[in-house]
């Protein structure tokens, strides 16, 4: 999957997510949504990335109250396995 991935992109850890929706509201590109079809182990509908269109602005990262739920890979990010 690595080489197909287009940077920047956003990764949500759906197990850590509490579904508060702050990231969805913060996203200027509107590429995040609450996944109503999914429930995580805590019973939250988690946020998810639509798969394309991330601007790499970092709004979701700074707005998310869960320390590890959102990771944003910016343009110019080189994955460990490529280094």
């Amino acid at each position: 999957m690595g080489e197909d991935r287009r940077y920047p992109f956003c990764e949500i850890d759906q197990e850590e997510c509490k579904g508060c929706g702050l990231c969805v509201a913060s996203c200027p590109a509107k590429v995040l949504e609450i996944d109503q079809g999914k429930l995580n182990s805590k019973g939250f509908h988690p946020s998810s990335y639509k798969g394309q269109g991330c601007l790499g602005c970092g709004n979701c990262f700074y707005t998310c109250p869960e320390p590890g739920a959102v990771t944003v890979y910016l343009k110019g990010y080189v994955p460990e396995e490529v280094k």
Binding site: S26, Y62, T63, E66, G68
Partner: protein
């Protein structure tokens, strides 16, 4: 160090929250949409970027953020309600190299800890305070906080906060801005990404100033409490924007970082001679008196002195403790406080030890000096078997009840009266104590009197009193 091109969980957090009980070690305990997690992330990111995780110390308060120590990859202390600035002061003073942060909510900082924060700010302590203002008590279930706004319904203001009965919302940043010492005071908000970034900048500035030892910084952060506001997270952000900010305007109230210089506090010193001088003991003399050979049954005494208020009970105790100090013993003196002080009786505990002293109260004394009958009846009960009871036979006309202790009937008040001043009975008691136990030499005590009394006449009178008490008991021994 250039940041990698990825925004991920900062290293200012621990990887797994091992201190958090239960199976869930990856998620925080905060409610969905709570502002604490956002502020935690901004702080954790700064700890990583400034490379201070090995010398940052986070003081956690009481409130929802009581468990901040589960998360931060730093030194952590969790302290009693409102006391974070006091503990932060101690940590920062004791270890100036530490980067000390105090993290507090509005109930903690503005209510019970209101005076602590004012005093710490006024002393210009070198700490960064993160003050989370969500206008409500979160952990305890949504009660009114000092920062609750007018008309706001809480569990303790069900009709809305009414200034006529509940006062006005307290503006802590403005309050602290009236003080001279603080270096940086700002109010920010978490209600949208732009303001979260301003909060980020303020957090970093406060930490930077603390690293540079510039003094006291406080960042007040308007933060969401969706659970107690009974709103969803996004509506909570809108409520901050529309309702809270008009009451608590955002902005930097003070930034004196560019003119502030590194604080260089005087190095704490311990000067025994100065302490002696202040206490009026021994006139700053360094050398201890030569110890006397003491019968083992009188060595290391735990002493209880008791009588009427006005009989010089407490001063007899301080005199015995001070003389013990001059021999180089460890001593303690503990007056009794409580209703009995105003009820006309007084007592104190004195301990004299070769080694260290644990509890200063003589709960099982080896020596009791009873100056009146109620005191004898009360304290002979707790006298250790084989202990020593010195009682004032002028006022106590009954025999002691205990038969398993050594008793000394000394007409202490009568001796003092004979010297023309009833007040010197405390020094008669000191003399009797010295004579019975042999712990102190008569001439040694006399030598210390000039440091205890101001006028020469009082020194002479008390010399006679000590001598009379001493001679009376040594005469009984013969």
């Amino acid at each position: 160090m250039a940041r990698p091109a990825v925004l991920r969980k900062p290293l200012g957090f621990v990887g797994r929250y091992e201190h958090k009980p239960g199976a869930e070690k990856n998620r925080t305990h905060y409610c969905p949409g709570c502002g604490h997690g956002i502020l935690h992330k901004l702080i954790a990111e700064a700890l990583e970027d400034f490379e201070i995780t090995d010398r940052a110390i986070m003081i956690s308060p009481v409130g929802c953020s009581v468990f901040a120590y589960y998360y931060f990859n730093a030194g952590n202390l969790q302290v009693p309600h409102g006391r974070a600035p006091a503990v932060a002061t101690a940590v920062s003073r004791a270890n100036p190299h530490a980067v000390v942060m105090s993290y507090q909510g509005d109930g903690d900082l503005a209510a019970i800890g209101g005076n602590h924060i004012v005093q710490a700010a006024n002393r210009g302590e070198n700490i960064a305070v993160f003050f989370v203002n969500n206008a409500i008590y979160g952990m305890t279930g949504g009660q009114m906080a000092p920062t609750t706004i007018e008309g706001m319904k809480t569990t303790t203001t069900p009709y809305g906060r009414n200034p006529l009965t509940d006062g006005y919302p307290m503006k802590i940043s403005e309050l602290l801005d009236s003080l001279h010492a603080p270096v940086f005071i700002a109010r920010t908000s978490l209600h949208d990404p732009a303001n979260i970034r301003k909060t980020r900048a303020a957090v970093r500035k406060a930490i930077q100033y603390t690293i540079e030892k510039k003094g006291f910084s406080l960042v007040e952060v308007l933060s969401m409490c969706p659970s107690n506001w009974k709103m969803d997270a996004v509506s909570s952000q809108e409520w901050i924007r529309d309702v809270l900010i008009p009451v608590f305007p955002l902005g930097t109230l003070r930034d004196r970082g560019s003119e502030a210089v590194e604080m260089k506090r005087p190095v704490p010193t311990f000067d025994p001679a100065k302490v002696r001088e202040v206490l009026g003991v021994g006139g700053g003399k360094q050398k201890a008196l030569a110890r006397r050979r003491v019968d083992p049954k009188y060595a290391d005494p735990s002493i209880r002195i008791a009588g009427f208020g006005g009989q010089g009970i407490l001063s007899a105790g301080t005199a015995i403790a001070n003389v013990g100090l001059e021999y180089g013993y460890n001593v303690s003196w503990l007056p009794s406080y409580g209703p009995e002080m105003r009820g006309g009786t007084a007592n104190c505990s004195v301990k004299i030890r070769e080694g260290s002293i644990g509890e200063p109260e003589a709960t099982q004394p080896t020596v009791v000096i009873a100056m009146n009958r109620p005191s004898m009846e009360k304290f002979e009960q707790i006298l250790k078997p084989g202990g020593t009871l010195i009682y004032n036979s002028t006022l106590i006309e009954v025999e002691p009840g205990r038969k398993d202790v050594e008793t000394w009937a000394v007409p202490i008040t009568g001796i003092a009266d004979g010297l023309g001043n009833t007040k010197v009975q405390s020094m008669v008691a000191v003399g009797a104590f010295a004579g019975v136990t042999g712990l102190f030499g008569l001439d040694d005590i006399k030598g210390l009197l000039p440091a205890m009394f101001e006028s020469e006449a009082m020194v002479l009178l008390n010399e006679k009193a000590v001598e009379a008490g001493y001679d009376y008991v040594t005469g009984m021994r013969r």
